[in-house]
Amino acid sequence: MSSRELARSSNGGGPAQLADVLERVLDKGIVIAGDIRINLLDIELLTVKLRLLVASADKAREMGIDWWEGDPFLSRRAQGGELEDRLRRLEQAAGLRDGREEES
């Protein structure tokens, strides 16, 4: 076995990036129907990803990020003008939005 260093993240061996962890545990792995119904669409934090859509759908498409188009839940939401507001509230609540917006 080599001594290859497997950094768990770009933070010099710190804990893995939360986004990487969430992407894996919420979106991958075998899905088994349990007794407790857990609807991951309830996780509004994930819709933070929609920031890209709000910022520029074209840009997102360029990057190959067009997954919402096949998702009736998200594309229906995306029609509404309230989406942006909703996201802003969610992100603020989640502490995901930094001060960048404030300095306009």
């Binding site: 894996r24 857990i38 890209l52």
Partner: protein, 257 residues
């Protein structure tokens, strides 16, 4: 807090071979050749009525997601493990055994696939800020009303779009070439959606979000990442290895139920 103790249920992290049941240091329920890595949880936390709220509590979600991942990582570095999706919960301990029985086939197939292997991640980044348009004028800013300036504005937008197209084409080409090379060094590989900056918290744009299943004692993927960095570094691209991860991206089959 008054009255009966909180109701509990069984949270299932993943599935291992019965001989590896102790590998993650958590409770295990055995059934035949398989063992489920489990933990008793309170329905105060994981009950259907409270989950929607909990899931949107960022701190709670992070803590639980990391705990889920932590158990699976401990297992994965030592033994083949089948990661289950976050939040797989059954009421009774006996239900865990029937869950194993019901899904024996996909579990066995996944264990066979990941035996002696683990998942590594490779992220590709572009340091040049991707095409700046920040959505600003597209929404009809307070620009002037004049026809001439309107035309100039449209032309500017068109030129921006052309530049964006060229840049996007280059990014896609680099990402595809990198993935192909990485895949050649792995047992299997998948490309996931690049994460937006809002999730990465970085100024660099993610151009590749790949996951690769590799033999544990094989360094080839890491070396390929090094050579990608050498080759593409001068053009503003960088590649980063993450993991080892439990093989989330390489499970075979889902519950038919």
């Amino acid at each position: 807090m008054i009255g009966a103790a909180a109701q509990t249920a069984w949270y299932v992290y993943g599935v291992v071979r019965v001989s590896d049941a102790r590998v993650a240091g958590v409770d295990a329920v055995e059934h035949g050749a398989l063992a489920a890595l489990v933990e008793r949880v309170s329905l105060d936390e994981f009950g259907e009525d409270v989950l929607p709220e909990r899931l949107n509590d960022r701190q709670w979600l992070e803590e639980k997601a990391r705990a889920h991942e932590g158990v699976l990582v401990r297992a994965a570095v030592a033994a083949p493990v089948v990661p289950l999706r976050f939040g797989t919960i059954v009421r009774e301990r006996d239900d865990v055994a029937s869950l194993l029985a019901r899904n024996e086939e996909p579990f066995e197939r996944t264990l066979a696939l990941v035996d002696g292997r683990w998942e590594l991640g490779v992220k590709g980044w572009q340091s040049e800020p991707a095409v700046e348009d920040a959505g600003g004028p597209a929404s009809g800013g307070p620009a002037s009303e004049g026809a001439a300036s309107g035309r100039a504005y449209l032309e500017q937008r068109r030129a921006e779009r052309r530049r964006a197209d060229v840049a996007a084409g280059e990014r896609a080409t680099v990402a595809a070439a990198a993935h192909e090379r990485l895949l050649a060094r792995a047992v299997d590989g998948v490309v996931n959606r690049p994460q937006p900056r809002e999730l990465t918290g970085r100024d660099d744009a993610m151009i590749l979000n790949g996951a690769y299943l590799v033999e544990r004692d094989d360094d080839a993927l890491g070396r390929e990442v090094d050579s990608l960095n050498l080759e593409y570094g001068s053009r503003g691209y960088s590649f980063e290895l993450t993991g080892p991860w439990p093989p989330h991206n390489f499970v075979v089959g889902d519950d038919a139920a």
